[in-house]
């Protein structure tokens, strides 16, 4: 397998506070990697740094994506190269309708890849198939992005956006927090059908819930800004049973 994402000795800080402290992680094409770690160890920071959030400064190390220097790219360039972040806390966008927003986003990606904008009818079809699969109603598509949705609905909408944009690298930051059993099933199946030989996943989680649907190829344990151990899916049980003290 070839590496899709290679993170080497990554140090990042916010303000004066160092959060990532020499993190190494490689995710191959087609691989599903689960990241587990205690609250505050830097998991969301890692996903923000990979996506290019301006509040975090990388002080050392590198991130290669498809062999290219990701840190040189703006967040939208990274997105259009195939990086997608499903947010732990999705951001509300009052006044920005979801369907229209996704059409704009899809066309931005097509433009970046030298393709023509999608026509209105084709877009509706493309969207409806995905919306139906994830239980997103027409009414939800018309509402402003994330505004007034419940926690679980927001997670489903993030999964829907991911299905719409068909990224090569999907970061799911606590996608399974706050989902009821039915929503977990919908999201789990939604993610699992997206598994493909060229698409990789980084699943940040505290539980086994989502991983039941999307079996990880490997599990990395993060503590205090570094990856301290990587092994097979048996690690999930170990964490659930005895926490992080052994790592």
């Amino acid at each position: 397998m070839t590496a899709l994402l290679e993170i080497k000795n990554l140090h990042a800080k916010v303000g004066d506070k160092e959060i990532l402290k020499g993190l190494n992680l490689t995710i191959d094409a087609g691989e599903v990697c689960a990241i587990m770690g205690p609250n505050g160890c830097g998991k969301s920071t890692l996903s923000a740094v990979i996506s290019g959030h301006p509040a975090y400064t990388v002080t050392e190390g590198e991130i290669l994506f498809k062999g290219e220097d990701l840190l040189k790219m703006t967040p939208d360039e990274r997105a259009n190269k195939g990086v997608f972040l499903a947010f732990q806390h999705p951001i509300e966008l009052p006044g920005v309708g979801l369907a229209q927003f996704l059409k704009t986003a899809l066309n931005a990606k097509r433009k970046a890849n030298g393709e023509e904008p999608i026509d209105a009818v084709a877009f509706m079809k493309y969207m409806n198939v995905r919306a139906t699969a994830l239980g997103i109603s027409n009414e939800m598509l018309k509402r402003p992005v994330n505004v007034g949705f419940s926690g679980g609905e927001k997670k489903r909408l993030e999964t829907f956006q991911m299905a719409m944009l068909e990224p090569d690298f999907c970061i799911l930051d606590e996608m399974d927090s706050g989902l009821d059993v039915d929503a977990l099933k919908i999201v789990g199946q939604g993610v699992s059908v997206m598994r493909e030989p060229k698409r990789s996943f980084m699943i940040i989680t505290h539980h086994d819930d989502l991983l039941q649907y999307v079996k990880p190829d490997k599990v990395s344990i993060m503590r205090d800004g570094v990856i301290v151990k990587t092994a097979g899916s048996e690690l999930v049980k170990e964490v659930e049973e005895s926490g992080y003290d052994n790592f």
Partner: protein, 205 residues
């Protein structure tokens, strides 16, 4: 009035309109009168005075400003509730970029004998560059005691987390900003002005 500073009078029932010069407007609203006017300022100053002269007179003033380069803009809007039982609304929103500066002064005056009046004034401004400046002085001069009034002003940059979220979906920074600015302006301005507004955004955002 130049095309870059259009206005639209939607409603003028029992209103005397005076327009002494390009930048100044006086509206005298009579009994049961109703005024609704929209202003869009991209270059010129604006000076509006509304007098609610008689029972049940009403007005709604909407104003948006878009300003760039090192331009300076003064917007003065005053509403005088000269008579009891009168109602006013002012909604002002604007965007300043480059090294421009805006000074907005809004006054709602309700004299002592003008009871049961309702006066509202709200201003929000977005600064798009560190050197742009918006100053707002909303003023309530309320002498009557049985009135309903509200006013508020908020000025700041676009929300960094909203911008980031849009960018992670593949929208370039300037597109993301335009989306947020359009949602900020909302439906304050009429459809008729949208070409001017979009044209301004295409050039300046």
């Amino acid at each position: 009035m130049t095309i870059s500073n259009p206005f639209l009078i939607h409603t003028q029932e029992n209103v005397i309109v005076k327009n002494p010069d390009d930048k100044s407007w006086v509206f005298e609203v009579g009994e049961n009168g109703n005024l609704w006017v929209d202003f869009l300022q991209t270059t010129d100053d604006l000076n509006v005075f509304v007098s609610l002269q008689a029972e049940e007179a009403k007005c709604k003033i909407n104003c948006a400003y878009l300003i760039n380069k090192n331009n300076m803009l003064n917007i003065d809007i005053k509403v005088l509730h000269k008579y009891k039982n009168t109602t006013s609304e002012q909604h002002i929103k604007g965007i300043a970029t480059d090294e421009s500066s805006v000074s907005f002064k809004g006054i709602v005056e309700i004299p002592k004998d003008s009871q049961k009046c309702d006066g509202r004034q709200h201003h929000r401004g977005v600064v798009l560059s560190p050197k742009a400046k918006i100053e707002a002085v909303p003023q309530l001069e309320i002498w009557a005691d049985d009135v309903v009034c509200s006013h508020g002003s908020a000025i700041g940059p676009l929300d960094a987390n909203q911008l980031f979220y849009l960018q992670t979906r593949g929208l370039p920074e300037h597109e993301a900003k335009k989306i947020l600015l359009n949602s900020f302006l909302g439906d304050l301005m009429p459809e008729e002005f949208s070409d001017i507004i979009q044209g301004w955004m295409d050039k300046n955002v």
